[in-house]
């Protein structure tokens, strides 16, 4: 875990997937798993998800919301949003450069 559909491809960083999922709004664990599976084709295992969530929370990138349910929702913090944007911009540059060079050869 996480499982990725492309054989041989490195699965994306679970933390980044979680941040990207929460960018659309607060979600609890199961909703994150389903959302990530729908937009990235990666099924995060429960151990992987709850390995990343405490780290992200400790780093102040996500925060828990009050809940009467055992399924506590999380939301992105300002720092989490900034980090996600910075990582995605870097990835976008890399993707653009890489695909451009592949097309030129």
């Amino acid at each position: 875990m996480p499982r990725h559909p492309t054989p041989g491809a490195q699965p994306p960083d679970p933390a980044l997937l979680i941040l990207a999922s929460l960018a659309a709004g607060p979600k609890h664990g199961y909703a994150i798993v389903r959302d990530v599976e729908s937009f990235a084709g990666v099924r995060l295992g429960p151990g992987t998800l709850y390995g990343a969530i405490p780290r992200l929370e400790a780093e102040g990138l996500i925060e828990p919301l009050e809940s009467d349910d055992r399924r506590r929702p999380y939301r992105l913090t300002g720092a989490g949003r900034d980090l996600l944007r910075a990582r995605l911009v870097t990835m976008e540059r890399l993707v653009g450069a890489g695909l451009g060079r592949l097309a030129a050869t």
Partner: protein
């Protein structure tokens, strides 16, 4: 509010693999997630891996004590204390066991080998192994325990519960005597069985 249901046995077992402080914060959430879909072998492996990682690198939980650095230092100090005290413990055990049987029987024969090994050490080295190392282990052990109790309220609660249990037991001397008698009997039976098997 949704009614709380008892998690299935497998979910509870899997959540139980995580450290207690981790479970107190995230255990219910993980159990709820595991209950959303029946755990497959892949999910079980993923959770076991996550639990091992959580035990290897404790996180500082928001609002909780900073356990990251302290826990690693405490774990290393504990391991060092055990390593320091093991040789002298082996020596004392061997010195005791070698007197319990004739030398040709096991475990007395092995105990004599260990005893003779330590007896052949130079005086200065023996003093380091048998006196200085246990003394350092004692200091390390007390320091780790003191630090842990100072940092971790749960450990203080556990210690208080242990003290309360000991006080309750002391009010029932017959129960204490029965437990000690059972333990002593088990030790004697094991020793006798070993003696008979060894021949």
């Amino acid at each position: 509010m949704r009614p709380r249901t008892s998690p299935p046995v497998l979910s509870r077992l899997l959540v139980g693999l995580y450290p207690r402080a981790w479970r107190a914060r995230y255990g219910d959430e993980l159990a709820a997630l595991l209950e959303e879909a029946p755990p497959s072998p892949g999910v079980v492996a993923d959770v076991v891996r996550g639990a091992l990682a959580a035990r290897a690198t404790p996180l500082s939980l928001p609002g909780g004590p900073d356990m990251t650095g302290h826990s690693r230092v405490q774990a290393l100090a504990s391991l060092l204390a055990v390593a320091l005290v093991l040789p002298s413990l082996a020596f004392l055990s061997a010195a005791t066991v070698r007197l319990m049987q004739p030398r040709e029987y096991q475990p007395a024969r092995a105990a004599w080998v260990i005893f003779d090994f330590f007896g052949a050490l130079p005086r200065e080295l023996a003093a380091v192994v048998l006196l200085a190392a246990p003394a350092l282990a004692l200091v390390l052990g007390l320091a780790v325990a003191w630090r842990r109790l100072a940092d971790d309220p749960e450990s203080r609660t556990d210690l208080a519960a242990l003290g309360a249990a000991a006080r309750r037991m002391s009010r029932h001397p017959a129960l204490v005597a029965a437990i000690l008698a059972a333990l002593a009997s088990a030790a004697v039976l094991i020793f006798a069985a070993d003696h008979l098997i060894a021949g």
